[in-house]
Amino acid sequence: MRIGSTLTVSFRALRRNAMRSTLTALGIIIGVGAVIAMVSIGNGAKSMVEAQIAALGENVLLVFSGSISQGGARSGSFGAGTLTVEDADAIQREVTTVIAVSPEVRMGAQVLANGLNWSTQILGEGPDYLSIRMWPLSDGNMFTDSDIRSVGKVCIVGQTIVTQLFPDGAPIGQTLRIRNQPFKVVGVLAAKGLSVQGADQDDLVIVPYTSAMKRVARQTMLRSINVQAASAEAIAVAQADIIALLRQRHRTTEQTDDFTVRNQEEIAQAATATSKTMTLLLGAIAGVSLLVGGIGIMNIMLVSVTERTREIGIRLAVGAHGREIQLQFLTEAVVLSAFGGSLGILLGIGASELLSQINHWPTLVSPLAVVVAFLFSAAVGVVFGFYPARKASLLDPIEALRYE
C-alpha cells in the first residue's frame, strides 16, 4: 500500500472542502473544549477545597455542640449549646494525645471604631486558636491565658476590619467597640481571602472566649471546641478518647449523643467528594457532547462517501486499491477529529482561562484531561470513520463511475 500518497490524497480532499471539514470538526472542537473546560473548573474547585481544608490547620479535630431536647422541641446543631468550658478543660487535661484546645463561641455584632461601624462576626477563642488554625498574625500579638482569666477587653482583627474601620491602617493600640464594650486591638491577622463558599474569611474579630461569653454574648455554653492532636496518627485515638470522655461527662450513649466530633479527614472527604461528583458530572456531560461530535463526523463521512461516489469510481478506475480508498476516508476522519481535538484543547484552555478571569473561579487545566481528550477524539475518528471508509472501499468501479 502506498501510504504516503494516500495521506497526500486525504489532505488534498480535506483542503478542497475546507469549509465542510471545519464544520464537521466543530462537533469535536466543542466536545473536547467542553471536556477540558469542565474538568478544569472541577479540578480548580477541588484544589481550592483542598487548600481550604489544609487551612483548617494541622491534625485538627472539631467538637460541635449538638442539639438538645427541651419539652419535646429539639434545637438544631449549635442550637442552645451543650458544650461547656469545663468540657474543653477536661479534654485538655485528660486526653493525652491532645496538644492544644481552643473553646469557641461565635456571634454576629455591630462593631464601631473611629466613628465608623461595621457588622461582622465575633469569635471567642482560646490563645491557642491561631496556632491550631496555622493562621499567622501580620502585626501585634495574640492575647494570652491571663487575658482569658481576666476576661480581658482585647481583640485580634481581620484584614477586612482594618480596611473598614481603621482608615489609617494602624489599628494596634486603638479601641474597637463591640456592643458598647471597648476592646483594645492587640493583633492583626494575615489575609486569608475567600472561602470555597465565597465568604470573606478576613471579616472577623477574635476576642478571648471568656470575654465573648461574659461581655458580649452573655451565654455560658460553647458552640464548638477546636482540638489539635499530637500527630496525624494520633487523630483517631484522640477522637475516640474525646467521644468517650464527653459521653461520660454528658451521660449519653451513641443514640443520645448531644455533640459531634469531626476530624479534618472527614471534613476533607465530604468537601472533596462534592467537588469530585461535580467534576464527574461535568465531565460526563461534556463526554456526551464529544460522542455526539463523533456521530456528526460519521454522518458527514457517510454523506461524503455517497456524494463522492464518482470520485471513488475515478480513483478505482485509475488504479486505487480498495484498501487505499478505505485508508483515505479513514485518514480524513481521523485528521478531522484530531484537528478538531487540537482546536478543542485550545478552546478548552482558553475557556477555562476566561472563566477564571471573569468569574474569579479557580480553574486548573489537567494535563491528563488534555491527553485523554485528544486520544479520545482521535479514537472517535477511527471508530466513526471506519464504517463509511469500509463502505467506500467496497464500491464497484463501474457502478461508481456511472453514479449520478
Partner: protein, 253 residues
C-alpha cells in the same frame, strides 16, 4: 509482432436474479501496437461491456483475455487495479475529472496510485509534460469548472497518458462535445496515435468512427463487422473545412 490485446471467445453474462443477460457472446479479436480502433453499435449491442472488459474494470464470464501478454481473466480486484494503473488509460464521456481540483492535480492522480514512489517534483513535471502534449500546460492551475468541455476532455486525456499506458480506452469521448470541439479532441487522439499509442474508442456516431483506422461493429453481443476504414477523416482537414464554412457563412450573412 505480438498483439497488445488478444481476446479469445469472450463471453459476459450478467446474472441479475431471475434473468440472465448475455451481453457479450463470443468475441475474439487482436489489437496490435499503433492501432486506432472504433467500437460501434447500438445501445445494448454489448460495446460498453466489451469496453469494460478491455479496461479490466470487469472480468469476462468465459474466455481468455491477454493484455500485453498477461492473462487477466484470473486476476483479483487489486491486480486488476494495478494493471489499469500501469497499462491502461481511460477517457470518459463525462470527463470524470475531480471537481475543486486543479487540472495539474487531476493529471497527477494515476501516479499517486502507481507502483513507484514518485517525488512531488517528479509528479508535477510528468503531469505538466502530459498537459503540454494536449496543449494545456498554461491551464495547469485551473479548476475543471473554469475550463470548457473540450479543455476538460483534454485534461482527461493528459491524465490517461500520465503513466505511459499500452492502450488508451475512450468511451464516447466526444459524446458531450459540440462538433467543432469533437474534431479538436479527435485531433489530439490522432496525434497521439501517430506517435505510436494504441487507441480504442467507443462511439455510436459513424462520422466520428471515420477518424479511426479500424471499425468494429457489434450487434447483440457479437462482432458483425471488422473492417479497415477506407477513406479516413483527418482532423486538420476537417477543421480547415469547418473554418472555411464559417467564413463563407459570415460573407453570405
Amino acid at each position: 509482432m505480438a498483439a497488445v490485446v488478444q481476446l479469445e471467445d469472450i463471453h459476459k453474462i450478467y446474472d441479475s436474479g431471475e434473468v440472465q443477460v448475455h451481453a457479450v457472446r463470443g468475441v475474439s479479436l487482436e489489437l496490435h501496437k499503433g492501432e486506432f480502433m472504433a467500437i460501434m453499435g447500438a445501445s445494448g449491442s454489448g460495446k460498453s461491456t466489451l469496453m469494460n472488459t478491455l479496461g479490466c474494470l470487469d472480468r469476462p464470464t468465459r474466455g481468455r483475455y491477454l493484455l500485453d501478454g498477461v492473462d487477466v481473466s484470473q486476476l483479483d480486484r487489486n491486480e486488476l487495479a494495478d494493471l489499469r494503473n500501469e497499462k491502461l488509460g481511460f477517457v470518459f464521456q463525462g470527463f470524470n475529472l475531480l471537481s475543486r481540483t486543479t487540472a495539474l492535480e487531476n493529471v497527477e492522480l494515476p501516479m499517486l496510485y502507481g507502483p513507484r514512489r514518485v517525488s512531488g517534483r517528479q509528479l508535477r513535471e510528468q503531469a505538466l509534460h502530459c498537459l503540454d502534449i494536449v496543449g494545456l500546460s498554461d491551464r495547469a492551475d485551473h479548476f475543471p469548472s473554469q475550463l470548457s468541455g473540450g479543455q476538460q476532455q483534454r485534461v482527461a486525456i493528459a491524465r490517461a497518458l500520465v503513466n505511459n499506458p499500452q492502450v488508451l480506452l475512450a468511451d464516447e469521448p466526444t459524446g458531450n462535445l459540440d462538433s467543432k470541439t469533437s474534431v479538436e479532441v479527435l485531433g489530439v487522439f490522432e496525434t497521439l496515435n501517430q506517435q505510436g499509442i494504441t487507441i480504442v474508442m467507443v462511439t455510436h456516431e459513424l462520422d466520428i468512427a471515420r477518424y479511426c483506422k479500424r471499425n468494429l461493429i457489434m450487434r447483440d453481443g457479437r462482432v458483425v463487422s471488422d473492417i479497415a476504414v477506407a477513406d479516413r477523416f483527418f482532423a486538420e482537414q476537417e477543421l480547415q473545412r469547418l473554418r472555411d464554412a464559417e467564413v463563407a457563412a459570415k460573407l453570405t450573412g
